[in-house]
Amino acid sequence: MTIELTHFSAAVVFAIFASIVFGITQRNTPRDMVRYGLYCFAMFVGGVLVAGWAMWLIRR
């Protein structure tokens, strides 16, 4: 089986799973785990969007 994800969907899938692991391992209480996981996800996806727009600006 072969999967071909787009650049963006690959980044989002990566962000989801990495954020889950970061949230569980880096915080002590369930509430903090969820909050930190969501924070990491937002930072991952936000970073991708910022980097994408930065590259678009550089290319112009």
Partner: protein
């Protein structure tokens, strides 16, 4: 005399804040490395264990499905060596992929490089999960 050599030799080798090394402190991270999430499951952290297992195994399988490269033990380029260390973190998944020769050597399409990164990161995340299982086992984390 308080500081005589005889008194010093009688002092305990373990400092008060040192944590005792229990069987579980060895078994949990080792099992967690071999099977992602199993370190937490053996410590009865069911929810965390299942989520870690799902995340790491899915990331690894997606990496394989995206035709990512599985590194072999090597002594050449530093990035190849680090790639091998990252892959090795996936434990049994890495062993299975090597035995079955999964993960092609040459990248076939543009996004396959993402697959390679997925495989490496799955292993690195599993190292973090194993370390977390150790911290739970020694009582540093609830």
């Amino acid at each position: 005399m308080a500081n005589s050599p005889t008194e010093k030799s009688k002092a305990p080798l373990v400092t008060p804040d040192a944590t005792p090394l229990t069987t579980m402190a060895i078994v949990a991270p080792a099992l967690g490395w071999l099977i992602p999430g199993a370190g937490h499951l053996i410590l009865k952290r069911w929810g965390r264990g299942v989520l870690l297992m799902l995340s790491i195994v899915t990331l690894f399988l997606l990496g394989l499905a995206m035709q990512g490269h599985v590194y072999k033990p090597n002594g050449g380029d530093i990035l190849d060596m680090l790639g091998f260390v990252g892959n090795l973190g996936a434990g049994l998944l890495y062993i299975l992929s090597r035995v079955n020769d999964w993960g092609p050597g040459a990248i076939a399409h543009a996004t396959a490089d993402y697959g390679t990164k997925f495989l490496i990161v799955a292993g690195l995340l599993n190292f973090i999960a194993a370390a977390d299982a150790y911290h739970i086992a020694i009582g540093k984390k609830p």
